[in-house]
Amino acid sequence: MKKVVDIDDIKPLIKDGMTLMIGGFLACGTPEKLIDLLVDMNVKELTIIANDTAFPDRGIGRLVVNGQVKKVIVSHIGTNPETGRLMNEGKMEVELCPQGTLIERIRAGGAGLGGVLTPTGVGTIVEEGKQKLNINGKEYILELPLKADISLVKGNIVDEMGNIFYKGTTRNFNPIIAFAADTVIVEADEIVNIGQLTPEEVMTPGVVVNYVIKGGE
């Protein structure tokens, strides 16, 4: 159960057509070295679940620009014109989901829930094709869980058991996607020995993490 591996050991895990969740908010808290790996491998037909498609030259945006993405499920694409262009040309599918709903759907996937009822999107096109329920006189949309084959997480300090500490606003989607995939890979700014993170400092318990790789400086 040695979790710290070389980035090359990750290669066999990633295949064309997979569904990946990737951490980060406009590339803050995105594992750029794992993105490098995906670009180098040139895996295709990916479905990406993440907050946004970042920028053409940063984060998830690079996968979009490189034509590796079949579909994205995100809350925002405005900072990456390439996403809009590919969408308009019918070359990439874009499912837009309100940010709070998206994170709840991922959380539901990781927590074994069958769905959640949210008031967000009621009366908008977001409710199209979805079941609505009236609870105590108020309308809610039933939003269904999301899961992935692999989650790519960025952590600042990660111990050898995979326990993760996030700095600042890099946390965002990372702790939630770490529960929602069959395989969880963490890119660490810094890898420390077991015991160097106190049990209270841990924000994602290592028990959900499969592999840890060392990120860039």
Binding site: P98, T169, R171, I176
Partner: protein, 221 residues
């Protein structure tokens, strides 16, 4: 007389700043709403939330002092004030959707007399996505729309929004460079007007029906 764009933004931001009360938790959208933070009175301590995962957001850092691990919802480096806190997106939207944010200030493409808001898509033209806006508008206790009164001379305050909605009937207040409107069950009430305009001018630049009370105030900026 319609103030130019820069003055318009200043008027709007200054007026909205006066809505903020001591101790409130406030979320400011990207762009014009962000300017509101420049005009908060010193004696009023509000806490700014950023939906990517922070309360206690401070001003932008000095050049060279940026921390790439601390950004706002626009991806721009910011600072965190003493007493601030970071959290993940599920907690950030628990705060937002759960009614813990007192005020959210957002821009708009269109807003209407039923309190409907459209600000996330122009089909076929511009599809940035809704980001956190739909949750903010549904969840915040008070929703203030901050926008210029017209777009290329065309009214943006309508009888009924024509663009796809961000949320239905959630807007509480509209602040433009010309006036302050309160959204009520009866419709839009013209509460205040800018010193250099008239009720007539506002009516001409507004598609929505306006309720004109007798005691209209001059916008206090």
């Amino acid at each position: 007389m319609i103030p130019n764009a820069d003055l318009a933004k200043e008027i709007i931001a200054k007026r909205i700043a006066k809505e903020l009360k001591d101790g409130q938790l406030v979320n400011l959208g990207i762009g014009l709403p962000t300017l509101v933070s420049n005009y908060v009175p010193e004696e009023v301590q509000v806490i700014f939330q950023s939906e990517n995962g922070m309360v206690g957001m401070g001003p932008m850092p000095e050049v060279g002092m940026e921390d790439k691990n601390i950004t706002n919802a626009g991806g721009i480096p910011v600072t965190v004030l003493p007493g601030g806190a970071f959290f993940d997106s599920s907690i950030s939207f628990a705060l937002i959707r759960g009614g813990h944010v007192d005020i959210t200030v957002l821009g708009a493409l269109e807003v209407d007399q039923e309190g409907n808001l459209a600000n996330w898509i122009i089909p076929g033209k511009m599809v940035p996505g809704m980001g956190g806006a739909m949750d903010l508008v549904v969840g915040a206790k008070k929703v203030i729309v901050a926008m210029q009164h017209t777009s290329k001379g065309q009214p943006k305050i309508l009888k009924k929004c024509r663009l796809p909605l961000t949320a239905k009937g959630e807007v509480n207040m509209i602040v433009t460079e010309l006036c302050v409107l309160e959204v009520t069950e009866k419709g839009l009430i013209l509460k205040e007007i800018y010193k250099d305009t008239t009720v007539e001018e506002i009516k001409n630049l507004t598609e929505a029906e306006l309720i004109i009370p007798e005691d209209i105030k001059t916008m206090n900026i």
